[in-house]
Amino acid sequence: MQLGLVLLLVLAAVSAYATFQEMERAIGQIYSSWWFISILSFISLNLLLCTVQRFRPLYRLALQPHKTTTAEDISRMQVHRAIAVKEAAEPLAAAEAAFRANGLRVSVAEGPAGRVVCGEKGRWGYLGSVVSHLSLLVILLGALYGVLTGYEVTNGGWVGSRFSVPEGNFDVEITDIRMEQEDDPTIRPRVYSDVTVSRDGKVLVQDTVSINYPVRFAGNTIYHDTFIYFPQIKLTDLETGETGASRFLEGDRVFLDAGRTMYLELRQFFSNFSMRPDGTPYNVNYRTDRPVAAGELVRDRQQQGVVFLPLHKAQVFETPGGRVEVVMTGYELASVFSVSKNLGRPYLFAGSLLLIIGLYMSFFIIPERYYAFYAESNGTLLLGGRGYRSRLGIAGRMERMEAQIKRREESKSSCQA
């Protein structure tokens, strides 16, 4: 287990270092590295071996305890007392009564040295560490199973569009997208996407995807990831009168001439455009009051400068093929989804629940076991107690039980007098 503690500290130190790195770099170069995974694997192996090693002794301790004991054993227990008494039968009855009065489960057994009263509580607490360790293994194996058998893809589209998920063998059609602005326009609005999922033409599910409300079916899940705008740009060749229009995504190139030597590379769509005094464009908020598509004009691979295309405001460019008019005629809201399948999820949840139960057993169910034995040779009632994790609790209860037994002895003496 000492190795496990060292490995946990190493893992904590490495993780702390990684958080000070840029997140993508930390994920790529640290959390996914062979040595980080090796540390995790060693910890898992250590956990497994410790659990196997400790299971049997703890199981015996919890469910198959020794019900008998001897005077020597009692004297070696964590907490022990010797009370001088007069008779053999009564002191054990007094101990039994004191055990019961303290909420202990009592059993009486005949041992080689004589009758022994045993009282116990919280025996399931012995197994807390085993349950916690097992649950961690279930979580780790669940995560591994999910990674090995599942998939995760990102896809999306606008109203009426459809995309395929070959990994899950189904298609997703987006039937509607609604945006709900918050009172505070600087807060990201909520987007609701109605989707129809089908396989081989048969509808599997029809539902709405939104933040915090994914759509689940047959082990697959469609989550709302984000939303984007697709500007619709219309080109008109002023020489020939030819027109063409299409939707474009950030990063797309809008070619202005047939030879493709001149194009507009779309950089960003601003739904509510403004410009800082230093000339940097920015979105005032999430409203769509002033939509502008911004891009870089490139000619013969040379950047010519930034072009802003406000809605319905045409701009004319001189191209090798003549003059071309470019205008943003509209923009379309599109939803981006994260689609995944994680078969390890049930095991992760089961493991998590088991972990909470195990930790509750470990820290809130404190096992205590007490023994009472009458040593005839010197007329002494021997009381012994041993526990797990709480020596003070044992000592406190022993003190109370000793006082109860002594009071009973005293009242018996006064009655006899």
Binding site: M1, L8, A12, D225
Partner: protein
Amino acid sequence: MPGLIAVSPVGLWVENAFFTLAVVLYLAAAISYLINVQGKSEWGGFASLVLKIAFLTHSLFMMARAYNVQRLPFVGHYEFGNLFIWATALVYIWTEWRLKEKYYAVGAFITPLLMLYFAYLTVIPSIIPAVVVSRAHRPLLPILQSDWLSIHVASSVFGYAGFTLAFAGAMIWLLKKSISAESPLSRVLPVGEALDEYIYRASGFGFLFQTVMIISGAIWADISWGRYWGWDPKEMWSLITWFVFAVYLHARFTREWTGWRAIALVALGWVAMLFTWIGVAWLLPGLHAFG
């Protein structure tokens, strides 16, 4: 201002009045507990009473805040910090009630820690301009509008409360080590073995709730973002805190680590917890930037 919840002047006054009164009462409790450990044992009961009144006043503040923001006040540094202090006071009052007056001495270490946390919410932002603790009444962001928020935050504050109690115990242990065993101060502090168990039980309490916090956060992230772990700095520091306390709890139990090594681990765990709460927010940007 757009996006802010309209709060009536009376509502705002009540909220601020309860907050100020709670801070003053917590401070009075801290002073009383400190006088108690100076050998004036008659101050112990008074300090405990003042702390309970401070806690009730703080509860009234939380209720006023909840009324004003029209939701549970669980979000942002100001609300989370107050909830954390409130939970720590509650857990301490509960332990004091269970363990009786012999543990009044722990109050002399817990209440100054509460004042330290209050300082982060009130004084520190005015000293360090980069630290902004907004008291604005804002509605919940769409991403936070989930039932998991309550479970995640509630378990978080109780986890932190347990770790704070453990750290207070660790400070007492260090103080006892640095003064003569015969000194009056040493005599009013809990005995070594009791203190050791106090730290262990408080850490165990915090550890259970920290676990619930991590798990509930993972489930919520799975629902919201489609993945239960994102390697976000806040997630990682919660896990680091969990690792450190896991090492302490194992070492204390299986290898019977007590003394310096155990105290060092508890102190390290508390620092990690504090960094998770405060340090990550200002030094390491990530997905948890809701404050």
